[in-house]
Subunit: 589 residues, 2 copies
Amino acid sequence: MSKFRSMDAFMQLNLHQTHHEIADFEGIFKYLTATFQQGNHEGLHVFPELFLTGYPLQDLPLKKTFIDDYQAFLEDLSVWSERQLKSKGPLALLFGGLRYEFDTLGWPSYIENVMYILEPGKKLRSLYTKQLLPNYDIYEEKKYFTAGHQSEVFEFCGKKFGLLICEDIWFSHLHDMDPVEQLKSHEQKCDAVIAINASPYHLGKVETRINRALEISQFLEAPFIYVNRVGAEDEILFDGHSFVVDGNSVVKMGAGFKSQVVNLDLPVYQSPEKQNVRPYHSSTNSWSTIFSTRLSSDTLTLQPMGEAGCREVLDALLLGIRDYSEKNGLKKFSIALSGGMDSALVVTILKLLQKTYPIEIEAIFLPGFFSSSISYDLSYDLCRNLGIKLTTMPIKFIHSTIRSAYKDNFGNELKGIADENIQSRLRGALIYMRSNDMNSAVLNTSNKSELSVGYSTIYGDSVGALSVLGDLFKLEVFELAHYINKHHGNLIPADIISRPPSAELREDQEDSQSLPPYDRLDPILEALLSSRFTPQDLIKRGHKQDEVLKVYQLLSKSEYKRKQFCPIIKVKPKSFGFGHRVPISKKML
Amino acid sequence: MSKFRSMDAFMQLNLHQTHHEIADFEGIFKYLTATFQQGNHEGLHVFPELFLTGYPLQDLPLKKTFIDDYQAFLEDLSVWSERQLKSKGPLALLFGGLRYEFDTLGWPSYIENVMYILEPGKKLRSLYTKQLLPNYDIYEEKKYFTAGHQSEVFEFCGKKFGLLICEDIWFSHLHDMDPVEQLKSHEQKCDAVIAINASPYHLGKVETRINRALEISQFLEAPFIYVNRVGAEDEILFDGHSFVVDGNSVVKMGAGFKSQVVNLDLPVYQSPEKQNVRPYHSSTNSWSTIFSTRLSSDTLTLQPMGEAGCREVLDALLLGIRDYSEKNGLKKFSIALSGGMDSALVVTILKLLQKTYPIEIEAIFLPGFFSSSISYDLSYDLCRNLGIKLTTMPIKFIHSTIRSAYKDNFGNELKGIADENIQSRLRGALIYMRSNDMNSAVLNTSNKSELSVGYSTIYGDSVGALSVLGDLFKLEVFELAHYINKHHGNLIPADIISRPPSAELREDQEDSQSLPPYDRLDPILEALLSSRFTPQDLIKRGHKQDEVLKVYQLLSKSEYKRKQFCPIIKVKPKSFGFGHRVPISKKML
């Protein structure tokens, strides 16, 4: 320690906003040994929650294969740090990981979500166990982990750091203790607070985190260091945005949606001016914030995402597709274009992804008897704008063949919903046929409005490996399309955005024949999906009774379609997918 | 009370092993008011856990619509019992339900899983709160409910009843207290113990429950009354089998897989003979029992289900299909027959269901270029045996049309996996076309072996509203077919059972070209899915290295197919579906 420069002058903080694939123990070991090989690092290096394993792990920590590999990895880390980790000055690595306790038979008796420390010449050791385990919506940490019961202040180079892990900062009625309050009453006053996180992204979350961090910084009178994971895991995104706040100011803000090492000197706490003092607990989790909506207070309109929101969501979707592709070896994409808004937006987003990530994209137009010529023209214009090849494979003749075969074998004409849906399923089968032949992936193009009311054909337009727009209502799909046209050149033909939405499965079909207009449908859906409104509440607030009841029924009855749907990139607080759990069989609710 | 006959002589117990649809408040209210309308009931009536709401409810208890309706229902019950419930003798109704506490804004501050009591002239009141909340595998009660912390002994007609709710009897390392031990040390000695349950079925569970009940009865020196829910909720089945044990004997055993009111007089505790005394805790939950396997100890063979097991599983599947159909309004079924084992077994099970439940069944054979004539002959023989009409709709010409269209539009021949899978997807689309036209439902015919290794075509043979065989390995499918042939007439042609399994998607295809033989595949899968074995463990025990590693890889890489699969009727301790949570994107584990 004596070699180190005066601690009061500065201490270097390094926030490793990193990403590795789940259970990529080898990759993480290589990253650490490569990063610290030169011995020219010093200071405090902080990595995200569960850096050593990835998150969310779901059942993996219960599997013997995972446990054996992970325990060997911990041992490797310990040996490396004890024997090989060198530094010219004081050095400590703080990162999240799992800590197992085993029973006499060798089976886990419990698993903790902890903060580990590595220091040169020392073995790996656990410093702190996460106390608040989130267990709502997409979270289910109580299923796997055992909570800690003790706050921890860690000393490094004469500075005292209060330690917290993710949910620990979000005290609410869901928990029975407050780890931040524990630090306040800890015998050692903190010079800074370190929170390591694997905090999933949703629109607006960055602001929520910073507001809470400012509160805590003021409450504990210490700078607050927030390190977040980055990267996408199937449907769940981690957005990075690591930061440091102090008193009433944001000292440092990390990048969103990409890996980065953020370096800074540890700030010294500055009290805010009186008018800027925040009460503690002004923005914590509670029943109402967890189920917050993006509705104007009368629930009759959906708030637009805005320019900043669109930019953020676009970045999120790009990361979501990219990481899913990379982890699952997807290098080519085959997209079925309909001439409509949703598929146009998906292929445009893929094109934007292609600017920074090498993928091949092909567009396929599968016109049927009811596809209008304008659908082809618009798909053609779109592909020309994007510089993507468009192949047309008409389904009319195949459809005719099926109609004849049906009549021949079952004795009656194919008509109505059966004749409509076979077109959609034929397209689903054909786009997957192409994807099998090209070894490409199919992205789903459904939006959240359709998914909510079941306005899609199962195994038809609902196919795909990953849903890009499944967490965006139709109004938001339009908003994002406008945003992209404004900021990335007019890629999407204006007529695609302005034409009335239609599935084109029968003569002159339009969405509005089956559903309320989207500017009325979407707010009803947002309200009902939040769980905070009953149909009666919405009718009282001025929504049309027949529309509300119809939407409510469609939502309730279409659960079976969502159960077989692909992962949806999550960009909202409440999404379909892992955090949405509703029985198929039930009295309508 | 004075009117009632001597309590020592007897007390009538009525175990209502009932089923109502989830959130069917109106139906439950009608059932109660109708059952007790005459006023000629007396004694103690015990209903299952969460009788008032159904189970599992998943997110429903968090929805304002559910909360409002449920609170109104509780109020109705209270008013009814206070004003209208009459009885000629002492009467008490014990049942499970939810109890909400609300904050000042009217939002729930917590929810408890409780036992309520209704008595003539009195309001509804809560007696006991469930203390152990299961939160592993398919269970996630800690996500929704708050645990109680106090045991309860309830007195009725001079008898003292210890109260327990489901998981309360299954103390293990997963919990930090033992409600049974609490009753042992309670100041009031119990004359009997009542446990109300919503205990999901799996093969072998009845025996496990009885063993545990006998232990507890001896430990507390009191008869043990076990009331279970019956009925199917999507994938999860409740099997009934309510019972009363006393000392070392089973006093009463309720029916399996159907509603029933079991009546008996409360037994007086009989100590078992010394040689029959069981140690307390001989059969509780633990890591190893939760992840138990049906393997012989060397892991090289899968234990057969046996005659009793087959009968039980068949009953379970019949109930699973029936309740799903009833709740979702399915009255007709369209089944695609391939001439193979799985589809033959599914249609045969439907036929058995038809004996007690009115449904229409139609079978469809969709032969392609590679369907052998024997596949038709066997499908024909099967349908003749079952008395079901078989319609053939060849896909050859449609397939040819698609091949031509593909070549015309994409410029190359359709071949390999693309040409194989299009046949499967075409069949998927066509059977759904038929189902749309007939307003019928399609049942999935995949087995657990296929599902495990991803040996199926997504949107092809993997389609369906409900999976009947998805929790049975291929060996078990054969075993169940033999059982049905033995006990229900030789419905399934012997050649269907004996022919080598094939998808018939290319010339001379057989499953064994892609997979190890099922008698080697299935034990490897059972071991890996239990989470208790690593591939290395299996190789050490004599499994072939190349087979184990291949199966392991297929299992790991096919998660994306299972994510889009329909609900599977659960008949095993560890099943795909709600209790199986594995990320798609991960380093192979």
